[in-house]
Symmetry: D2
Subunit: 358 residues, 4 copies
Amino acid sequence: MKALVFHGPGQTSWQDVPDPSVKDAADAIVRVDAVTICGTDLHIVKGDVPEVAPGRILGHEAVGTVVETGGDVRTVRPGDRVLISCISACGRCRFCREARYGQCRGGGGWVLGHTIDGTQAEYVRVPFADLSVHPLPAALPDHEAVLLADIFPTSYEVGVLNGGVRPGDTVVVVGAGPIGLAAIATAQLYSPFRIIAVDLAASRLAAARELGADATAGAREEPERLVQDLTDGLGADVVIEAVGVPEAFEMCTRMVRPGGRVANIGVHGKPAVLHLEDLWIKDVTLTTGLVDTHSTPLLLRMMAAGRLPGADMVTHRFALDQMAEAYDVFTRAADTGALKVVLGGAQHDAVAVPAGRA
Amino acid sequence: MKALVFHGPGQTSWQDVPDPSVKDAADAIVRVDAVTICGTDLHIVKGDVPEVAPGRILGHEAVGTVVETGGDVRTVRPGDRVLISCISACGRCRFCREARYGQCRGGGGWVLGHTIDGTQAEYVRVPFADLSVHPLPAALPDHEAVLLADIFPTSYEVGVLNGGVRPGDTVVVVGAGPIGLAAIATAQLYSPFRIIAVDLAASRLAAARELGADATAGAREEPERLVQDLTDGLGADVVIEAVGVPEAFEMCTRMVRPGGRVANIGVHGKPAVLHLEDLWIKDVTLTTGLVDTHSTPLLLRMMAAGRLPGADMVTHRFALDQMAEAYDVFTRAADTGALKVVLGGAQHDAVAVPAGRA
Amino acid sequence: MKALVFHGPGQTSWQDVPDPSVKDAADAIVRVDAVTICGTDLHIVKGDVPEVAPGRILGHEAVGTVVETGGDVRTVRPGDRVLISCISACGRCRFCREARYGQCRGGGGWVLGHTIDGTQAEYVRVPFADLSVHPLPAALPDHEAVLLADIFPTSYEVGVLNGGVRPGDTVVVVGAGPIGLAAIATAQLYSPFRIIAVDLAASRLAAARELGADATAGAREEPERLVQDLTDGLGADVVIEAVGVPEAFEMCTRMVRPGGRVANIGVHGKPAVLHLEDLWIKDVTLTTGLVDTHSTPLLLRMMAAGRLPGADMVTHRFALDQMAEAYDVFTRAADTGALKVVLGGAQHDAVAVPAGRA
Amino acid sequence: MKALVFHGPGQTSWQDVPDPSVKDAADAIVRVDAVTICGTDLHIVKGDVPEVAPGRILGHEAVGTVVETGGDVRTVRPGDRVLISCISACGRCRFCREARYGQCRGGGGWVLGHTIDGTQAEYVRVPFADLSVHPLPAALPDHEAVLLADIFPTSYEVGVLNGGVRPGDTVVVVGAGPIGLAAIATAQLYSPFRIIAVDLAASRLAAARELGADATAGAREEPERLVQDLTDGLGADVVIEAVGVPEAFEMCTRMVRPGGRVANIGVHGKPAVLHLEDLWIKDVTLTTGLVDTHSTPLLLRMMAAGRLPGADMVTHRFALDQMAEAYDVFTRAADTGALKVVLGGAQHDAVAVPAGRA
């Protein structure tokens, strides 16, 4: 089959590789129908994630069709159309028993496209299939469903739930890339009073407003003053970091009100300064975390019912073998305006792609 | 009356001052029967707390007897023996309505010995008396009750409750001064599996063991390795910072397990480094906060029933007018072994002071 | 002044009575601008609430203007336009300190129109004014704001919050009178997947659909089967009882799924049968409660922002002195289609009353 | 092998039956080393549980040694000494994913000795072994460990956790049989202020005091007055029903304070009267439930550390083939004083059986 193989920093190729096969009775082999590219994949390609060894097939998000299952798989069977979650779960370890699948100690967690071969391929082996794929309703098109593999559960669990968003809250989302936008979308499930989006790019702030942000501020346009002004100087109830750089995190800790929460979603490569000399007295809660995808069934039901935006976040569509073009467009997001790019998935589409999008 | 007046960095005197009087209908005037000194008082004396103006009477912890009340005070009256909480509460602002009294916006919060005259005096004016003092049962001696003014609720609320200690947990308490020791004592209300105390001083670790720590480590003796060894390499469920220096806080963030919590109690004067490059993926919750003293009635009932240690933490006793000696002994705690020093309070004592203690 | 006085079962009159005056330093005297009638008032008039003594002025919901305050009132002053909450709060007792104002032991709780004179009058004395009235934004008209005195916080706290509604839930509301309709409206703050309304009256089910119910069932049309059909036989996540008769409560306990919650809002006069032989194994949580009105500031902000329906629930408007007519229309709700009737309030209205409504 | 077979109401025999064998790849075959009898078993023998078909081997609690495992079992292997939980868990259904194993929809839940053959036998087939057995530390003797199969997790989860016991609470436990006594023992993990036990039998109240109850009342000696007296007329914070008859449940609902919780553990065969005319206004939470055994690893660790009583509850010991004698002693508990009877288990005992106990 064809797959996107990582050959070391800066080097990938869409090439022939052996087809995957069932190695463990809990495995499923899934034909990839639609796949997307994550910001994390770009980090891997740059060489920032040393656990990813050369020869690895990348990708941890996909929609596909089960073609084979090991003897221990009970909940899906060949022919089933499924979402492949970015997180696999052994279901037996102490963390899986608490639905904290992202911290699985039994061979799961984030493994696809990381420590085992991933989804940017024609076929993929999914371990622990019973707890790692989700059957999809026919009405949900591939290019929307694929967003449930990572960005929707990540933004909801690590941002909205860790942030403890409640009705009436003022919520600030710092970073309006795909994850931040999905946080804006999913925060609305808890009816905050106001969502304020902060980003460097005007185009992303426009997308934030379309997805429900009530106010926006350019990252260099005094976003802290805006938050102060809108909250009578108190600060926001919940601040969600969806960037992954120290400056953004530090700004979040200045924007939060006494008694409020800062939920970090961003993937960080460097330490931040935590101003405990200000914060020790301020009753602040800070959270970090990897997604567990325990919320995927809920989000799937809500998206299928039209209660979550999906298509709005997909700016570009490609065929599966246009992997190089898709990476190029996604890598140059500042120029191309890319939010999420989706490869494949056409055959299941029930909705039209908006004009002006690929 | 006599009171301890702050005259600027390094300068205090026990001197004559005017008696306090009712200024607001919610005030109570309380005769101070017993008072203690807080680590924060030492910071003020050094000049680290610029909000404290010269001329201010210090102290925010006391037991006393009500001598006069304003017309709006309904729950105590002259003659009542009361605990004076370190936190005053207006009872009307949004924070007080959530029992987050430490963040009171209506004139309360930590004001005694800070922005208004405090308790290291023969008499003190307590604002918002209804929500700021607590009637004491006769059986609870002054020198124990005074510990409920600050260190017990602080360690319980900001350490144990913010830390979310649960039955079966491994809890690490970094810093075994009075606050850390009180955290060790109050954590046991939730039946953790094991409490590990970390401190520089062997004498404090001995006190930690007496108060219920199951294991101890010198701060320079590889405490992180001990935690790893005792938790199969996973880390502690809850880590409580009770020091207030960056190194201690940073150690806490390395000791916590995935999914665990770090509760900061320490008063910090400098920023710490937050290693988000390690923590972003680790499902960690960090909390900070000032005490609210919402738990004081509970802790008072438990201490009165002998369910919390009190006397064990009082190492030195003085008469009220021995303020200078008491400050000296407490300032030189490393030499004197002082944990809490109590001034006054003799007349109510039902228990003997252990031999060898002042 | 004029007021509606209860003279014993079946007997009320709109008559001259002495003006109220400040009796306690925490009191406010409020001129009543708009008032409504509660189902509970009808029970009182029938004689079902023996604590209400003849001579009592009825009513516990109003919007008005402060005309005088006692010396201890700090947060409102004459001229302020305020919502009078159905619950008064001393702010000092153990229940008030937990924001459980409905259970106030210090002289508050539900007292207006119950154990002290109420709001169906030209003026009313409100005890503990600081915690018992809420300043109103100018933009919120009286006839909407008055719904925040009781039915909105009651349905939200006792129904939605006690019921623990979460995103994606199936919620059943049994009883589509004013309280049930407000539960349908406020449940949407938590984005349930589906709200099912059950009532005897088709007109109320129509109102339920207008306010956001996704499905409705006549109480005699197999509502249990509808719930089973819509939940794959599992039952609803949350069932809210908003009727107050045993049959309705018992139906609720049959409609809830394993692990679900039944939240009772209804005012009951008779015991119900609890089928523990079925329920003991079923992981069900049942809650009861009187409103605390701790959520009033939140709901007020949301209604002022147009995020909660108000006017939709007001079917009839009267002048304040049309008290007899208003009681008549509200008592004959089955015939008149009355949901909430509002007396007074015209002068502040910024919105038109819909055509066809009084 | 030998096993206790149910032959219809009143009829059981310890007889030869075929050895069990692996039927599903997730099964384990376990040699039973120690087993106990549950009150539920007595109900089954009487014919009260019609789902139990004649021919069924009874028993749902045991300690044993794994002798064979199916190909899908990953966490235990032949030779491992394990606790067999009364609840089996498929690990895949929506309830198992929430750790609500008792409600498993995938073939688990309470099945042993109920819908499949149970543990009162020399060998037993345990389905879904990975999530249904727990490896045991060598130091924990069989006759204590077997109490972790049902009564300890049941009393802790359905009583203490559902009841929300918190430090400082007054807790009433109605019924001081094995489950009630285990509730008294496990409630102490949350440091209540006071535990009050209620039972008909003086011997059980004596056992309650030994296990930590602070006060006791005969069920016919005005227990409600005792609760009122000890709580200043307010009622208990938490009331746990551990009997299973309507009168006991109804008494619980009268004993609870406003804002308190009633947690039902009792297995009920008849409906109770719920006095909603009193309770609707009282802010009460009532819970029911079957155990999930999610707490078993925690309780196991605590018991192994000597933090929970085990041996104290075992009043009679028998050999495995003395099944008839053991049932007889347990059935006549009122005469024999039996709390828990344990069959087998001698070989692992590290502790002596107290004198005067079989």
